[in-house]
């Protein structure tokens, strides 16, 4: 995939900043469950090689983002204590102002499949659900609400959530912020019915 630009492919999305956040939620005014809910996110602020001009053929760059996807996914799995701890996930991107929303769409495949690869095993399931996502253009300090759903079945109502991610100093105009989110349980006081995690049966990623 090296296209002879004089720049190795690893260098095009240069890592500037990395942030890992883990939030433990004990209660929200109601009875505290025995184990707190944990929500973790990992973000990388990287150079956007397509900033400042229109490039038609950007899809090959998805391949270049795979190592970053693996890096962030493994940080989150480690933060939560292993693949069997992870129940929900999501992903997102904030594209600096000299870029295009479409540049953030490059993250869908390398970000999503990196998480699924890091999570799936015989013991823990297949991470069958589509990874929900959000993306937008923004400046330094912009926050993004990254949606979260259950990793095995999108309709599990107790796991619908969102995690607010952001970094004070990024993305600069020629950068992108790429984020992955993992959680280890339902909302802390989930009680609005719908499909429950114990009822997942179809293996289709939905129910």
């Amino acid at each position: 995939m090296h296209r002879g630009t004089g720049v190795s492919r690893e260098d095009r999305f240069v890592l500037h900043h990395q942030v890992v956040v883990c939030e433990h939620i004990f209660h929200e005014g109601g009875p505290a469950p025995d184990t707190p809910l944990r929500r973790a996110y990992a973000v990388a602020v990287v150079s956007n090689p397509f900033a400042g001009r229109y490039v038609a053929d950007i899809a090959p760059a998805m391949e270049e983002l795979k190592p970053l996807g693996r890096r962030l996914a493994s940080l989150l799995v480690a933060e939560l204590g292993g693949p069997d701890q992870v129940e929900g996930y999501g992903k997102g991107a904030i594209i600096g102002e000299d870029g295009e929303l479409e540049h953030g769409a490059l993250w869908h495949v390398p970000g999503g499949y990196a998480m699924r690869d890091a999570l799936r095993s015989d013991d823990t399931g297949s991470a069958a659900a589509i990874v929900p996502s959000a993306k937008k253009v923004g400046g330094p300090g912009t926050r993004l609400d990254v949606p979260v759903t259950h990793r095995e079945a999108s309709y599990v109502r107790s796991h619908f959530d969102a995690v607010e991610v952001g970094v004070a100093y990024g993305p600069a105009p020629d950068q992108m912020l790429l984020a992955l989110v993992m959680t280890d349980g339902p909302r802390i006081h989930a009680r609005v019915g719908g499909l429950r995690a114990e009822e997942i049966s179809q293996g289709d990623g939905l129910r």
Partner: protein, 196 residues
């Protein structure tokens, strides 16, 4: 680690800078913040004696300090700079932040960071859910070390609610990414009086 069952939330945040000003930063500079959301027992009241918050501050300094050091994966002695801050929800009073921060929090935090001769820089404000709190940073043994003057942001999307306090402690294992404005350096400091 002293357990503090009154937390509603606790968050750790680790930030690394790998590149700055077009240059690589090797090793990356790293900061960690640990922040807890707790009930403000004096929200909605005027209370003369705030001493219960002094002891709470000490526990928070120890627990949040230990969490921040653990988040960096370092030994306490490797901490280079530290800081502390509180945001008070709108039914509280700025003085509640002062009561958490100033009388005893430092004792707890220094216990978690291998000591520290320097004043722990601090900030405080009133605010609402999702508002940003900037935690100032300074070298833990010599407050005049210029390369380590810095700050780090923390925010929690749903805190502080009106009757809550957001308490944050920050530690680093490094200074700014590319320090070059002179002043006292880590190699020149003696670290005995907390200043130089």
């Amino acid at each position: 680690m002293s357990s503090t069952p009154t937390y509603r939330k606790v968050m750790t945040r680790v930030e690394e800078t790998h590149r700055e000003g077009g240059r690589g930063v090797d090793p990356p500079t790293r900061k960690a913040v640990a922040a807890a959301v707790i009930d403000n027992p004096f929200a909605g009241t005027y209370t003369e004696d705030l001493s219960p918050l002094f002891d709470l501050g000490e526990q928070l300094g120890a627990d949040l300090g230990a969490r921040a050091v653990a988040a960096l994966g370092i030994n306490p002695e490797q901490v280079q700079s530290y800081g502390k801050a509180v945001m008070v929800g709108s039914d509280g009073e700025l003085e509640h932040a002062a009561a958490i921060l100033h009388p005893k929090l430092g004792r707890g935090l220094r216990g978690a960071t291998g000591g520290g001769k320097a004043l722990i820089p601090s900030s405080k404000k009133m605010g609402g859910p999702g508002q940003v709190l900037d935690v100032p940073l300074g070298h833990k043994d010599a407050a005049y070390v210029r390369s380590h003057f810095d700050a780090v942001e923390i925010w929690v999307n749903d805190a502080p609610r009106r009757g809550e306090l957001l308490v944050a402690v920050a530690v680093t294992d490094s200074g700014r990414p590319l320090p070059r404005v002179g002043g006292l350096t880590t190699s020149e400091m003696t670290g005995e009086d907390g200043l130089r």
